[in-house]
Symmetry: C3
Subunit: 430 residues, 3 copies
């Protein structure tokens, strides 16, 4: 951490400022239109119209993803803190990369859609961050942010502009992509000696903090899936479908969690994650004419698959495949993202949308997963270079490696040292 991280962060910010000066401007047209026309200009008009959607997405990115990952009892600072950093860096880089891709390398204007897109792009990195949570340094995350958003923007361009596939809620381009990119990185950065690590656990209150993240993600997911939909019927459908898919998903998630656990108890990990799978899975066909009951079928399936993933796949990945998926992003974003891609193919086969073809949807799914795996493997290899201060197995899942943490037990009652002398070795309590 000593100087590499701060110098790289400042260097990147300086580079961003230079690139923004070269390529990003408000666009004078807007001023002209405003002066010459009696009606309000388009850009600022749609600005006001979509601004509430932007703010909903903004809450999801910064509060939703940030707090969702605070469930680890001694890694909550890093979860919320590094998410914050990743998203703030990522949105700047995504603005540039996406703008340049769509302008063909020329100067471009900032509209409300650029800003929403920039926020959405960072979701990809935050998903991948969930897979490697607790096992990487801030410098590694900084590098991953830059690399992943670049690969993501390329794949999104391919899917949207070349394949012209339909993926309004980004089941494939964000969720599946982010999950498989993160899993690939986690596979390369495998830590062999983490099983004994009791830090890799939640506590009662860290699970409650995580529920703040879950609920804000769940609440605003209809905005996530409809923010960039065509105004009118499609946007309306995207919102309504997501609303009902998520509601159905909650019921099947609770049911599956209870069936999967001992004596029918519920597992907080499932509730925090599987309840959101309905939002992921309905994404690709959210603006199609799938009817509310169709979206409820998709949501119901997503909830069940997600819980099964947590129960069976995550342990299998960790032991057999040697891929440690800390947050279980494969179950929240990977599998439901694939379900979403397949659902969009089925939807087109059933004739409820003519915006894309089945082949193009399949190509989009394949491309998103393929690009993610290759991009993730290469990124993982770069991150494994011994100069990025990857934490040792011992330092994993431990905030005190990166943060000034008060040893609160001792601080709190300085004159009341417990008889048990070994309390001096206590890590910060949760």
């Amino acid at each position: 951490m000593r100087v590499k991280f701060p110098l790289m962060a400042i260097g990147l910010e300086v580079a961003m400022i230079v690139l923004f000066k070269l390529f990003v401007h408000y666009g004078n047209d807007q001023n002209t239109i405003q002066v010459n026309s009696t009606s309000k200009p388009n850009v600022t008009d749609s600005f006001l119209e979509l601004y509430p959607f932007f703010q909903d997405v903004h809450v999801m990115i910064f509060v939703g993803f940030g707090f969702l990952m605070t469930f680890l009892k001694k890694y909550s600072f890093s979860s919320v803190g590094f998410s914050f950093f990743i998203a703030a860096l990522g949105l700047q880089w995504a603005t540039l990369i996406q703008g340049l891709l769509h302008s063909g390398g020329r100067k471009f204007d900032i509209s409300i859609k650029n800003v929403i897109n920039a926020d959405l792009s960072t979701a990809t990195v935050l998903i991948s961050f969930g897979a490697v949570l607790g096992k990487t340094s801030p410098i590694q995350m900084l590098i991953m942010t830059i690399l992943e958003i670049t690969v993501f923007a390329s794949n999104e361009y391919l899917v949207g502009e070349i394949f012209k596939a339909s993926d309004i809620g980004a089941s494939m381009t964000i969720h599946a992509f982010g999950a498989y990119f993160g899993l690939a990185v986690a596979g390369i950065l495998y830590h062999s000696d983490l099983t004994w690590k009791h830090h890799n656990k939640e506590s009662y209150h860290s699970d409650l903090f995580a529920m703040i993240g879950t609920l804000f993600l769940w609440i605003f997911w209809p905005s996530f899936n409809s923010a960039l939909a065509d105004t009118g019927q499609k946007q309306y459908r995207a919102m309504v479908n997501t609303y009902f898919s998520l509601a159905a998903c909650v019921l099947t998630s609770y049911a599956s969690s209870s069936l999967a656990e001992n004596r029918g108890k519920l597992n907080m990990v499932h509730i925090q994650n599987a309840t959101l799978a309905g939002g992921v899975a309905v994404g690709a066909c959210a603006d199609m004419n799938i009817n509310p009951y169709g979206s409820m079928v998709i949501g119901s399936i997503a909830g069940i698959i997600s819980v099964i993933g947590f129960k069976l796949l995550t342990p299998f990945f960790a032991t057999t495949l040697r891929i440690q998926d800390t947050c279980g992003v494969h179950n929240l974003h990977g599998l439901p993202g694939i379900v979403g891609g397949l659902a969009s193919i089925v939807a087109i086969a059933m004739g409820v949308s003519d915006t894309s073809s089945m082949a193009m949807q399949a190509a989009a799914l394949g491309s998103s997963i393929g690009t993610a795996v290759v991009g993730g493997l290469i990124t993982g290899l770069i991150l494994r270079l011994p100069i990025w201060e990857q934490p040792s197995d011992w330092d994993c899942y431990d905030d005190s490696v990166y943060w000034e943490v008060l040893y609160s037990v001792l601080q709190r009652n300085p004159g009341q040292q417990c008889e048990c002398g070994n309390h001096n070795q206590l890590k910060p309590e949760d």
Copy 2:
């Protein structure tokens, strides 16, 4: 829990999907309008206009009510988790029931108002949940959700369509109804041996989590009361009146709490709840011409009455009436709901509204409380059947009955067992 709860949840979801297929669709009219007319269609237009209101209400239901009830130190998982489940189930059922009631049993379209109404309906169950919090099983809550929303929708239809009473913020139909329904259920499900139960307490941090709920409810209450008001002057008044009523209520709540407690201290329970009573009480006349100062009078009274309720009525209910009101919903929703009904009668008497008559307002209040008590008693009797796994007195207020909870003290420092051997019997710490 073992299989009853998951099977009932999945069964209900399947039933919902079938019913949605039969009765709920987007409405092709919207497409037609969109194609044939140059102006944007009405449904999607009002969709965008009311969407921010919907999202505000959505936050209140899922974060507001969910976290408001996390104040119990060992029941926070259940508070936030079962609220989530109840609301997700309830909104699906409410969409159906309300749609069918208003369409006369025919197919109906989903508009943004249906969605807002569905969310609002779940508030009724969440209020009742507050009365029985900690003393019921998930299956019981599942059954209560279905029964209560059915009764609620019937009463709301009666009040709105037959009496044509005015209750824009639902002081009577949601708040008073939810409270008295819950109290009736709690009375039937009386637990005789809870007084010794030290779990029925808040902790420092669980009180802070509850404040997240309080504040989001408080902040978005103007949206709750104005979301369904007629666009224009009435919606504007509903928002402004609620804003000032709530602000006034905060002052009198703090003052009353300080007067009610030893040595003038403040009580977190009052701050969490009584500060919201102004939003409840101004609901029925929120869109009337009562002037800002009128709403401040209503809010001030509500705050005082609510604190008095917590201080005097809740203990009286628990001991003499044998009704244990865990969250004190009678003080937050019951009494202020009645104040709201009475305020609307006074407002009409003073001539500030011609939308309803005093008699119809009185009928609405009577009907809401009467239906709630009868519905609650019947529901309570059904819930008392010995097949719904009602928790024993010993298991009340205890998350570990329904959730996989880490025994975090021991897990955290497995090698550092305290000398005091009885720590092994520790329940999860808060």
Copy 3:
């Protein structure tokens, strides 16, 4: 506390109601327009348009500021509770004072802009509250609220109506003003014997609660800076500039924090506060044509200066100047507010705005700081009168002085008293 505080609170609320009856009404014009015109009336039209901005600001005031200050481990109830009280009182008083100032003492109408302005005004007091946090009684805060909002409204009138200076995001009139007002009060109320006080610390979870505040402030700051901007290009620019300024500020805050601390670790205090400095500093020129890269330069500088302030100035203030700035509001609001004022002068010098002159901006900055210091000193002297129950040094930073706090360790495990007898002296644990 015993009776002074509640009686003053109720007395003030009664006074508010009387004053609202005399001066505040909805305005009949709106009804007239609504009836006579086919288009929707202006007031309610802009009501719907700005309502989402209002709600964003509302979240910042009540959740943002309230939770930002919960970082003290034994003063979280007071932080969130007194913020709530201050804001609810302040918005009523601000509505009156601002309305009367702008109407010349006559009756005035409530528009959505009045409501937004009322919320914004309370930010000033909440900032000052941060400087004296933990060292004042509720009565003192009640008096400070009334006095500060009066002085604030006067200065704002001077800056906006007389100087006609440009300060759309209120860098000078709210942030610098609130900070220097609070520092002046803190200087007068100096506590000589606080250094030993170990309560003046954060705990792991109190720092996480504070991050809820930070993130909601950060997320909605674009709304704070653009809510009152002219619709169209200016509002669009205010939002975009704030968005990018904040993103850049995050990167330099993290970098500076890492450089400032031992072994390159991050400090939660910096992350909670310095990351927001970009929103403050870009405020005064947010609606000017400074370009995205310009706002990123401003945000970058603000983040660095803020961390330097925490590292060097706060200790200097506490020891040499005898001003104890509990939350470091000088680093989050004072310094960045000055940066904002200077940036607006530079921006006008560079010709990107013709809305104000350099001299008038300088006058606005000078007036804001000067009025704040003088107003703060006088307020401090009034608050030092021995009748306002100022806490003793011993009672500082301690919730149990003002709140019924459960001594949770003992309550929780009543039968499991620790061998160490001195646990009986424990204050409520965090």
